[in-house]
């Protein structure tokens, strides 16, 4: 059973919708009807592993089996899309470096702190986390600061890859040459430099689980790029609520280029940067310097 050759039970439309909705309630990911073939192909692996004959039985497993909780996690693991690479959407990263970071730095200094927390929500195999850490390092704005970049994902498999920090050619398709100094060549691929790895932390976290998200702590910037596009409206709203709660006041949220909060949340304010639009947790008037009120 490989990507070229996979055979097994077929997924009827009715079963697809039942399983799709079940997974959606668990982790927010939503598959449109025309993606049924992806669900069928990826879940066949689970059916085989469990010795389950067809998708109807698999659905009953998810509903009633004592090990269902573990299984839905395994299903989410195989169904999530994990494609990412270093320096993805570079123009937005430029705005992050040139405009967001100086603002965040000034705000931290104003409250007497030399600590910076960045969260990559849905970090997949870690390329974004390390990209952020490299940008922070290269900016020179936070030398001597306590800088932490935290990445979470629902998939244990990709987290394990992220912790290994070693990547093949596909992860470098948008690589910026001047950052090559942050990698070491190894037999398995290019490995992120230990100094950068030391800034980065990873955790297994379902974005729909608001209570567990508290482990992220309070952050200054959240990257949630090309994650919410896989969610339905209700789940998107729930995740945005979590992100809002985790952001410091005045903290920034960066979404993917095709994403917008317009219909999902009113909690954030829009901040127009030179070339980019980002979102920000509002700063109450009482917290602002008097001249700005």
């Amino acid at each position: 059973m490989t990507l070229l050759h996979d055979a097994g039970p077929s997924l009827k439309l009715k079963e697809f919708r039942l399983i799709r909705d079940f997974i959606n309630r668990f982790c927010g990911i939503y598959f449109a009807d025309d993606c049924a073939y992806v669900v069928e192909r990826r879940l066949r692996e689970r059916l085989r592993e469990l010795g389950v004959e067809d998708f109807r039985e698999y659905y009953r497993y998810l509903l009633y089996h004592p090990k269902a909780e573990r299984e839905v996690e395994a299903a989410a693991e195989v169904l999530t899309t994990n494609e990412t690479y270093f320096f993805r959407e570079a123009y937005q990263l430029r705005a992050f470096t040139d405009e967001v970071l100086p603002a965040v730095r000034a705000r931290a200094l104003a409250r007497g702190s030399k600590r910076l927390d960045v969260w990559s929500a849905g970090c997949s195999s870690g390329e974004e986390v390390f990209t952020i850490a490299m940008l922070l390092d290269a900016s020179g704005l936070f030398d001597g600061w306590d800088v932490r970049v935290f990445g979470n994902d629902i998939s244990r498999r990709v987290l394990s890859k992220a912790r290994g920090a070693t990547y093949g050619a596909a992860s470098f398709r948008a690589m910026i040459p001047e950052y090559a100094k942050y990698f070491i060549e190894t037999d398995e691929g290019r490995q992120v430099h230990p100094r950068i790895r030391a800034m980065c932390h990873f955790g297994h976290l379902n974005l729909m689980n608001q209570r567990r998200a508290a482990i992220v702590g309070r952050v200054d910037v959240t990257f949630c790029r090309n994650v919410l596009i896989y969610f339905d409206d209700a789940s998107r709203r729930k995740v945005l609520e979590t992100i809002y709660q985790r952001l410091n006041r005045g903290g920034y949220l960066l979404l993917g280029h095709s994403e917008s909060l317009l219909r999902s949340s009113t909690a954030f304010e829009i901040t127009q940067l030179t070339t980019e639009i980002v979102y920000r947790r509002p700063i109450p008037f009482t917290d602002m310097p008097p001249r700005l009120v």
Binding site: L18, R48, G51, S258
Partner: protein, 674 residues
């Protein structure tokens, strides 16, 4: 926050405080006064307005709210208020077409377009009567707004009106119509579409419609668009060409030939899309690159396969490639492991399928690459090598494949199992020999059991019996399933022991396997399983006894109707219905008032077994169930009953049903019945 506090916060200078105040107003027990809602809808901050939209949608003063907002649309210059009013009207003004008609008559052209926008947002088909004259009217702006409104409402009548306007000389309006038809998913024929896309500007937004025609005549325009400097236009064109290629039936070869010949501008766009496109664009580009046999895109196509972003059609097309692709595939040897894995597997399959066309040296090379890669460090490569032995395997490979079965990688084990199952048909003795010393306690124990089940020999049976003692529950489960095929009474006893296994999945497998065995020896362990501490095991046992027509078990299965686990109750009800239990009608009544969907569905299935009049009445209760899957089951059962009364019920249900899948079930069922 108190009522006064809310009012004070609503007048704060801080927009976030105002936003939260409006959020809080929705909890007011007596609702929010209309004037305050309109004030909030005209707030200067969009976030406050958005909260106000939700608040307005809950207003108890609906009629007054609609009148007030219609007046706002005609009178206000406040863009924020106007947009908010449109949105609220869209949410609350269904069935109010007459109010819009009155407002339209009183408004000038400038305000009419806002009213029209709100009409569209209601998605109420009754609005179409009033939109029809506007879409045909002289004011281009209002007509374009009416087009947009028709798209929002959708349906065949709206689509027909849009098609009618395809020939308009007003370019702006024609673009609106084409965009609208694109969004509606309309399929136009080339004859319908061609006159409308005679202009280069219009063509740029028509790629999807051109693709959907499925007619090769559209290709020329699309190839032009694919070479457009704008990545959006180029990507849309590539996706459309992929749709065109997939839907063209009669002249497909001709179309592919034309595509392959158009290298100059088309190929660079294809490369760009494969490397940097979003997922749907990569998907389309990969399909086209395969169809055109574009060797220079091969690595990028294989990368897309490795990233799992290609459609099943692309995989089928790749596997249907000829022997000419084999050498380029083998040249991917130095590529990323996942890319090489796919290249190797495909080269192995193609060389086997086109054996006569492949030089002996190439065959030998493939064979040696497979042997070497079977020990590769990367799981994907090992799996590909193992899978390739499905074609190229011979007795020499059995031992190496069995070694793959101890891999911790599911992917490697699955591929090796598949290859060994294939070899078991051709060289069973070699497979049996290789499996003799296999480790049934390792991670691949279950896979070994699967392969052993393909070998019909006493030695394989002995090995499977050893599998029943494995420390791995998955192996015990697989051994139980494999041994049940023998269907002998001594096997029933052995499998019966597994009903007492400490692992629930082994228990379930044992119960299910016993249920399928014809020997009477299977009954006793099944009755024991009715007392299992695990609910799924009790449920499976009830179902198995029901299928075996074990009428003697009826009293014990009836007792399971009182079980606290829904899975057990629903299984017991199914079993009792199969067994024709005289008391099933009472159980059905209870099930049909149960909150659990699965019990309710078992109730419907059991109701179907009752006398027709009784069944009609009980099953029809499923038509109003909130869960769509329950309604579908009720429809299926009513169609099965097929009486005049059930057909009437279904026709009536169709008028209220909103779920497209449920509607389809009724419509197709009634059509077939007729």
């Amino acid at each position: 926050m108190s009522e006064d506090g809310l009012d004070e916060a609503f007048h704060s200078a801080d927009p976030d405080v105002r936003r939260r105040a409006v959020q809080g107003m929705s909890l007011r027990p007596r609702g929010t006064p209309l004037t305050l809602i309109v004030d909030a809808l005209s707030d200067s901050d969009w976030r406050v307005r958005r909260e106000a939209i939700s608040l307005a949608a809950q207003s108890a003063e609906r009629d007054a709210l609609i009148d007030s907002l219609l007046a706002c649309l005609v009178e206000t210059d406040n863009t924020g208020l106007r947009n908010a009013a449109i949105e609220v009207l869209g949410m609350v003004a269904q069935g109010q077409a007459h109010k819009f008609a009155d407002a339209l008559a009183a408004a000038g052209g400038g305000a009419q377009k806002f009213l029209v926008e709100a009409m569209g947002k209601t998605r109420d088909p009754r609005m179409i009567d009033h939109l029809e004259p506007l879409v045909r009217g002289p004011d281009g702006n209002v007509a374009a707004a009416a087009v947009e409104a028709l798209v929002c409402i959708g349906g065949s009548r709206a689509e027909g009106l849009l098609k009618e306007r395809l020939s308009t000389p007003n370019l702006f309006l024609r673009i609106s119509v084409l965009e609208g038809l694109t969004r509606l998913g309309t399929r136009l024929t080339w004859t319908e579409l061609a006159p409308a896309v005679d202009d280069a500007i219009v063509r740029r937004i028509s790629a999807e419609l051109l693709g959907r025609t499925g007619e090769p005549d559209a290709l020329e325009f699309l190839l032009d668009l694919a070479a457009d400097p704008s990545p959006q236009t180029s990507s849309a064109a590539l996706r459309a060409i992929a749709v065109l290629a997939s839907e063209t039936q009669a002249d497909r070869d001709d179309l592919i030939e034309r595509l392959s010949a158009s290298s100059e501008s088309f190929r660079p766009a294809l490369h760009e899309a494969l490397l940097h496109g979003d997922t749907p664009t990569r998907q389309g580009a990969a399909y086209l690159a395969v169809l055109c046999r574009d060797e220079s895109s091969l690595e990028a196509v294989l990368q897309a396969v490795a990233d799992d972003v290609v459609s099943p059609e692309t995989v089928v097309a790749l596997r249907a490639s000829g022997s000419a692709l084999i050498d380029p595939l083998l040249m991917q040897r130095g590529a990323e492991p996942r890319v090489w894995a796919i290249a190797l597997e495909l080269a192995a399959e193609l060389s086997y399928r086109h054996l006569d066309e492949v030089p002996a040296a190439t065959r030998d090379r493939i064979r040696s690459l497979i042997e070497r890669d079977l020990a590769d460090a990367t799981d994907a490569v090992r799996a590909a090598a193992a899978e390739s032995l499905l074609w190229w395997g011979d007795p020499r490979d059995c031992r190496a494949l069995v070694q793959c079965l101890s891999s911790p990688s599911h992917q490697v084990r699955a591929a090796a199992t598949s290859a060994l199952e294939g070899l078991a048909k051709r060289v069973p003795d070699a497979v049996e020999e290789a499996l003799h010393e296999a480790d049934l306690d390792g991670p691949g124990g279950a896979d070994i059991a699967h392969v052993l089940s393909r070998l019909d020999s006493p030695r394989a049976e002995e090995l499977l019996k050893r599998g029943l003692h494995s420390g791995e529950p998955r192996t015990r489960r697989a051994a139980v399933q494999a041994l049940a095929i023998a269907n002998a009474s001594d096997m029933a006893q052995l499998i019966g022991y597994a009903v007492a296994d400490e692992d629930i999945d082994v228990q379930i497998a044992a119960v299910r396997s016993l249920g399928q065995m014809s020997t009477r020896e299977a009954d006793a362990p099944l009755r024991t399983a009715l007392d299992s501490p695990f609910a799924p095991t009790r449920a499976e046992a009830a179902l198995a006894l029901g299928r075996r027509e074990a009428n003697g078990a009826i009293p014990r299965i009836r007792a399971l109707l009182e079980d606290r686990e829904p899975v057990v109750v629903s299984a017991a009800l199914d079993a009792l219905a199969w067994l024709g239990d005289s008391e099933v009608a009472t159980a059905v009544e209870r099930a049909l008032s149960h909150a659990d969907d699965e019990i309710f569905q078992a109730g419907l299935r059991a109701a179907r077994t009752l006398p027709v009049r009784h069944a009609e009445r009980l099953v029809s209760r499923g038509l109003v169930h909130p869960a769509w899957n329950v309604r579908i089951l009720a429809i299926k059962l009513l169609l099965d009953l097929d009486t005049e009364y059930t057909r009437q019920l279904l026709r009536r249900a169709l008028t209220d049903e909103t779920d497209s899948m449920v509607r389809h079930a009724i419509e197709s069922g009634l059509r077939l019945g007729a």
